[in-house]
């Protein structure tokens, strides 16, 4: 089955087929055959296939000079888009509306292209982008599960688009024309199972073209599954093994056929989550390349409700489209219009700003290509904001606002009251949301499942919770983002299962991320596909009246809700809210540590710059500054100078205004260690002690991690174990926790305690074969933990290494040097019989090519770093690698080890051999590039050259190693691979603990 592991699995399958492996072992492909996959994936085969089944595709012509381009453009009709062949990052292309623009772009493009060619194609950026999800079986039964419309039209990749389901602005003729085309196309390609097809539809006629067919489960299919309640992957797998659609039953009704098309009675809105703030130099513009790292899906009965819910779900500090905390920026019209024409992550806010400025819907539409229908809906939101500010708030206005998705926070802000005032007023007036079911059939058949959402678009609940059905509400983690990904969903799901194994019959989950397993409606008893905001969780707990709420498995999003929920009288299961707070509150935390005689790096909380400056001078730069209560180092920074400190204070108070900012000494050359464990208040189980391969300073989410630790002596391990026990017990932790330590010159310091599931918990659990969350579920219910020896983890004979996966390639302009801000978007964990066995597999998994021989480029800033890397470079040379280096680096190594060839910087293109040429010619296999100081202004002047090397290498897919520890491990792994092969063993199941 090739369709279930994304593009990676699909490519892998095609390669297995091409290399004859499938044939050799007589392996059948189930579902869509490889020939079908190729018809969808290969551009030319795709165009041919679509032509054969009468579906139009985009017209284009390859040209190599302006005259040819002019002719092509006349045939195709303006506007045209010019795409430059064989250049990196789409540079040199553009959209031409007339001959003059065409001339300029083509001249530039032909020069930029390595093969002197450009592609002239019809430009359809303003066309509607409509998608269909198709299911088809071997017997040729087929249905559409869902269609979707992209609000930002064809201009923006669907992954970065704001998407609604079903489509809103196309009529019956267009809907069914495209539906029929979808079925024709998938039949012709030979899809068996599921596929996604994308169309561009002219907003001025019924003209359309097919853009692409995805012959596999995709992000869009996951979204379609959650949007409709139709479990696409499950059904598709059944089809793959030979079932026909009519043989399968709709699992929601448990009585009707799965061979049907879901009818929705709500509107779904998908909103991407971007994390641009974490990347310096990154280009925030949205376009054909996907840049988001996660998404949320909201369900409502009006578009406005759905959209504003989605914005809240993003957990970026916004309460909706308008009336946010940081309003008050002034935009000028020119600025707004520029942004409307070239969308970035703030596009919808610019639409709202434009409407407030009085820019017409027509003008906004013409600039942005957003269908006027959506703009008018945004106008409803903007107008309601004005009414809230101008009129006195009566029942009718309150009700209208809620129907348009305004949160209590927004309404309170408009009229200078507190959110709890609004909540009180709502309840007095009987304005509370209804709980509705998603049933795939728009209420025509009764649903047997409880897949739920809340809306103000109704006044009757679809169900009631009987007193014997009161249970436990588990909060999920919200959208994937940098620092919070599937690890927390693993935590949520395992918590649900753990509670069920402990005899709990009624578990409700709240989450809003369509990419997760926790939002499968059959994982728990009642699924609320809802916001993780205080207002909504209170709505849910008031409806559910649960025994308690679990907030410790949903990462920082859920954890942050602990104190306010407790304050509102909600029973938090597990560790007491006060204890969670005192772990997050640095001064409370410090005083506990002081009492235990446990050391911390020097720190101070400050609210004004003078205090901060004074402290920094006292302990000496560099210092780490961060707000409390923010996960994954948002706005966390190593600061090297007073100027930087000043800029930082402003930034940090923006991200987390309700919490003070903390400054601490940054200890260079320290080891960092994570401990994941579970406590029942009396007994502590240590999952494992995890050592970071990179030195402290690289964010723990970006660091490579190893179990067991291999640079810590027994004494240090004993100290860590002792500290862990003491801390867990003194905080009376009941549930999962994570402790972070710093080891500096043989001393153990505690950096922080998180009383919740951590990012590394699934990694630890899988390696030591103990499911920590499963244990935690018992502790949360007040049960005693089983006895497991403190050193259980030491007895595991495997090595486990966790390697981060970065997506810099997709983020045009982003630099790849790591720091205290987390930047990785995923991770791979690999297990092996030895450290290098595990590391080799880990590096390969995240896309490194590990060469057996070849050439390395070395460029290292600073003498200290050069000295440190000497053994590594010497080792590399001994392995038979050719060494290239930039001037100063070359001088140093030539003297120490000899045989080093000097190459020249990209910024000096006339001096040969030049790095740029060598990179393009593929003469460099990997690069060790350690930035000068990991320090000061990275991007000014001379250092820009290093950035250019890293960026170019990245775009060409050449590994770049940017820390000395990583370089060292990489070279040792190359050595190991010259003599050994990696092991291939299945993962063993969890130990049974009784």
């Amino acid at each position: 089955m090739l369709a279930y592991g994304g593009q990676t699995a699909l490519n892998c399958g095609v390669k297995l087929n091409e290399s004859g492996i499938l044939q050799k072992y007589d392996i059948k492909v189930l579902g869509t055959q490889v020939s079908g996959i190729q018809k969808a994936e290969d551009r030319q085969l795709f165009k041919d296939s679509m032509n054969q089944c009468g579906i139009p595709v985009l017209n284009s012509k390859t040209v190599s000079n302006f005259d040819q381009a002019k002719k092509a453009a006349q045939e195709l009709g303006y506007p045209v888009i010019i795409r430059v062949a064989y250049t990196l990052g789409g540079k040199g292309g553009g959209v031409a509306y007339n001959e003059i623009e065409l001339h300029e772009i083509v001249e530039r493009g032909v020069k930029a292209s390595l093969v002197g060619q450009v592609l002239v194609e019809e430009y359809i950026g303003s066309w509607k982008q409509i998608e269909y999800e198709v299911m088809r079986d071997y017997a040729e039964n087929n249905v559409i599960v869902c269609n979707m419309e992209n609000i930002l039209a064809m201009k923006v990749h669907t992954g970065d688009n704001i998407v609604v389901a079903p489509s809103q602005t196309i009529d019956n003729r267009e809907y069914h024309m495209l539906r029929s085309a979808s079925l024709r196309a998938t039949k012709h390609v030979g899809i068996v199972g599921e596929c996604n097809i994308q169309f561009a539809l002219d907003p001025n006629s019924e003209r359309y073209v097919a853009i692409e067919v995805n012959p596999r489960l995709s992000r869009s299919s996951a979204l379609a599954s959650k949007a409709t309640g139709y479990p696409i992957a499950y059904m598709s797998a059944k089809i793959g093994i030979g079932y026909s659609l009519p043989e399968l039953v709709n699992p929601i009704t448990k009585s009707t056929t799965a061979c049907f098309e879901p009818a929705l009675d709500y509107i779904v809105c998908k909103h991407p989550r971007w994390d641009f703030a974490k990347f310096e130099l990154v280009n925030r513009k949205l376009g054909p390349m996907m840049k988001s790292v996660g998404e949320v899906m909201s369900i409502g009965r009006t578009f406005e409700e759905s959209l504003q819910k989605a914005i809240r779900m993003l957990d970026i500090g916004n309460d909706g489209l308008v009336l946010n905390r940081f309003n008050g920026q002034t935009y000028n019209e020119e600025d707004i219009e520029n942004h409307l024409g070239r969308p970035d992550d703030l596009i919808l806010y610019y639409v709202a700003a434009a409407l407030k400025k009085g820019i017409s819907v027509d003008r906004i539409f013409k600039l942005s290509s957003i269908d006027p229908w959506f703009i008018e809906k945004i106008k409803n939101i903007v107008n309601t904001e004005a009414r809230l500010k101008e009129e006195s708030l009566d029942k009718s206005l309150l009700k209208t606002s809620k129907k348009l998705g305004f949160s209590d926070n927004q309404i309170a802000r408009a009229i200078n009251k507190t959110p709890s005032d609004i909540r009180k007023m709502r309840k007095e007036n009987g304005i509370i949301p209804s709980v509705k079911q998603i049933d795939t059939l728009a209420a025509e058949w009764p649903a047997k499942t409880n897949y739920l959402y809340l809306t103000y678009g109704g006044d009757k609940n679809d169900l009631e919770i009987k007193s014997d059905e009161q249970g436990i509400v588990v909060l999920g983690a919200g959208p994937y983002r940098i620092g919070s990904s599937v690890e927390f969903d693993w935590g949520t799901v395992n918590m649900v299962w753990g509670l069920q194994e402990n005899g709990e019959k009624n578990i409700a989950v709240v989450n809003c991320n369509p990419e997760t397993v926790s939002t499968d409606y059959d994982v728990c008893n009642r699924l609320y596909f809802e916001e993780l905001t205080l207002e909504r969780i209170l709505d849910i707990t008031e409806f559910e009246n649960p025994k308690g709420v679990v907030t410790c498995v949903g990462g920082q999003t859920a954890n942050n809700l602990t104190p306010p929920l407790a304050k509102n009288g909600v029973n938090i299961l597990g560790t007491k809210a006060e204890a969670v707070d005192s772990a997050e509150n640095r001064s409370k935390f410090s005083s506990v540590l002081d009492n235990l005689h446990i050391k911390q790096p020097k720190w101070q909380a400050f609210s004004n710059l003078t205090d901060a400056k004074f402290f920094a001078q006292e302990v000496g730069y560099p210092v780490i500054v961060r707000p409390s209560y923010v996960l994954s180092g948002a706005a966390m920074k190593v600061v090297w100078s007073q100027d930087e400190l000043k800029t930082y204070v402003k930034e940090a108070t923006t991200v987390s205004p309700d919490h003070p900012v903390v400054i601490s000494k940054f200890m260079l050359n320290s080891l960092e260690v994570d401990v994941d464990g579970v406590c029942d208040g009396k007994n502590v189980i240590i999952g494992a002690i995890v050592e970071h391969i990179d030195f402290a300073g690289v964010h723990s989410g970006d660091a490579m991690m190893c179990i067991p630790p291999w640079r810590l002596n027994n004494k240090i391990i004993e100290t860590i174990t002792d500290y862990t026990n003491k801390i867990a017990i003194s905080f009376n932790i009941k549930g999962p926790f994570n402790l972070q330590f710093l080891i500096n010159e043989g001393h153990v310091f505690v950096i922080e305690l998180n009383i919740r599931a951590s990012r590394s918990m699934p990694f630890v659990s899988k390696l030591v074969k103990i499911n920590l969350i499963s244990l935690a579920s018992g502790a949360i219910l007040g049960k005693e933990l089983p006895t497991i020896p403190h050193d259980h983890w030491k007895k595991i004979h495997n090595y486990g290494i966790k390697v981060p996966q970065f997506s810099f390639m997709q983020l045009e302009g982003a630099d790849i040097v790591l720091g205290v801000e987390m930047q990785s978007t995923g991770e791979a964990a690999c297990f092996g019989n030895s450290f290098y066995d595990a590391l080799a597999k880990g590096l390969i998994s995240v896309g490194y090519h590990l060469p057996k021989e070849g050439t390395a480029l070395i460029t290292i800033g600073g003498d200290e770093n050069k000295e440190k890397l000497l053994p590594t470079v010497a080792h590399l040379k001994n392995l038979g690698f050719k060494i290239l280096a930039t001037e100063h680096t070359a001088e140093f190594f030539e003297e120490k080890i000899g045989d080093v060839e000097t190459v020249y910087k990209i910024s000096e293109p006339d001096r040969k051999p030049n790095i740029a040429d060598l990179l393009y010619e593929g003469k460099i296999n990997f690069i060790i590039n350690i930035p000068s100081t990991s320090t000061l202004e990275k991007y000014v002047g001379m250092l820009y050259d290093e950035y250019q090397i890293r960026r170019k290498a990245l775009e060409l897919g050449i590994p770049v190693l940017t820390t000395t520890e990583l370089a060292e491990s990489f070279v040792k792994t190359l050595d190991w691979l010259q003599k050994n092969d990696t092991t291939k063993n299945p993962i063993e199941p969890y130990d049974i603990i009784s």
Partner: protein, 390 residues
């Protein structure tokens, strides 16, 4: 900048007072739109997510107040009713007027946007003197109809306060949908001809949708649309290659003349296709019986199994009555299609004669085009083309 034009229009006949009152006493309060009046009809729900223009002009909805389960309605406005195709058939409408007596929805889009619109939904309703209510919990309403069955209801739209008791009294006194006669309202008064080919198909108009006419034109025949009570002699005088008995509203028993004609068509072995009400009429002509469903089938996602090959088709449907499966045993028909969910009769085929009928709408509009092959089957019965049947 994109260089496209913009077509939007704002709702004007809105913000009226409105109440929807069901026979069981339930009252829904909402915002009235369209024309201020009080109307009474059978309330039914449709689960289609698109295609309100086509749905609202489908004569099968005659006598009914419709609620749409999809909560956002009116987004793309309403096209120009005057636009006709080359044969003079309205291009975007299924008949020349709004057929429902009233419309109940969750949200009326206050601005419509589409290149093809000429008016907004409320404007259209106003022009045709039909009331609408928006802002009600249509899901709660649908669940009620699902559990209690369809029922009579009154929809009042007014510029002033509404006297609920008065409306309730009116509702109690009204003729029940089941006993209403619709044929005189929906059927053509005189014959109409579309196209000039030599070979023709007669459509007996028991409330036909224009899409049926368009589909027959598409398979290459002249269409002669005749009144519902046209005699067999008159029909034969056209020397048609085949006959289609159309969809339409109400109880099929109320069309005795059509049933009589249908009997003769079967006897004389004239290739005949029945659609929806037409299928029920053919069923009755061939000794089957019909009954009324609890809440009908109205939507675009109804799965039907073709018993010839077990292929399943997603169909568009709109019917309250259907053929009794038990009655088929002693009738002239065999079962052809069944509903995959509730196993009701969705298609029948005559045991000997050239006569087929489907309960669903192969002409689509609104809904999926997957069953257009039914018209190819008719063509095959008429001695041309190929049958997909085994």
């Amino acid at each position: 900048m994109s260089r496209v034009t913009i077509t939007t229009k704002k709702a004007t006949h809105v913000n009226k007072i409105s109440k929807l009152i069901l026979d069981d006493g339930t009252v829904f309060d909402g915002m009235g739109f369209g024309f201020s009046t009080t109307t009474i009809g059978e309330i039914v729900f449709n689960t289609g997510m698109v295609g309100y223009t086509e749905t609202l002009t489908d004569p099968s909805y005659s006598g009914q107040i419709l609620t749409l389960t999809y909560p956002l309605v009116g987004n793309y406005g309403v096209p120009n009713p005057k636009i006709k195709d080359d044969d003079g058939i309205q291009k975007f409408f299924e008949s020349d007027k709004i057929q429902v007596r009233g419309l109940a929805i969750h949200e009326l889009s206050l601005v419509a946007s589409h290149w093809n619109l000429s008016m907004t939904l409320d404007e259209w309703f106003y022009n045709e003197k039909i009331p609408g209510i928006s802002g009600i919990d249509t899901r709660a309403l649908t669940k009620k109809l699902r559990s209690k069955g369809v029922m009579m209801a009154a929809l009042a739209v007014s510029d002033n306060e509404i006297d609920v008791e008065q409306v309730k009294n009116k509702l109690a006194a009204a003729t029940n949908y089941n006993s209403e006669e619709f044929m005189d309202q929906v059927s053509t008064k005189s014959e109409q001809v579309f196209g000039n080919e030599k070979d023709s198909v007669v459509v007996i108009d028991t409330g036909t949708k224009n899409a049926i006419l368009r589909n027959i034109r598409n398979i290459g025949y002249k269409v002669i649309k005749v009144p519902w009570n046209t005699s067999i002699e008159k029909i034969l005088s056209y020397k048609p290659k085949g006959v289609v008995i159309s969809n339409g509203p109400g109880d099929p028993q109320k069309c005795p003349e059509t049933i009589k004609t249908a009997k003769s068509l079967i006897e004389k072995n004239i290739p005949t296709l029945g659609i929806c009400l037409g299928a029920q009429i053919l069923g009755l002509a061939g000794q089957a019986s019909t009954y009324k469903l609890k809440y009908g089938h109205r939507g675009q996602n109804k799965s039907c199994v073709n018993l010839d090959n077990n292929q399943v088709y997603v169909t568009s449907q709109n019917h309250g009555y259907c053929i009794s499966p038990e009655s088929l045993k002693d009738s002239e028909f065999d079962l052809w299609f069944i509903n995959a969910d509730d196993k009701t009769v969705e298609g029948i085929i005559h045991k000997k004669q050239k006569c087929i009928a489907v309960q669903f709408h192969p002409e689509a509009s609104p809904g999926p085009y997957d069953c257009k092959f039914i018209f190819e089957e008719l063509k095959h019965l008429m001695g041309e083309g190929k049958s997909a049947k085994k």
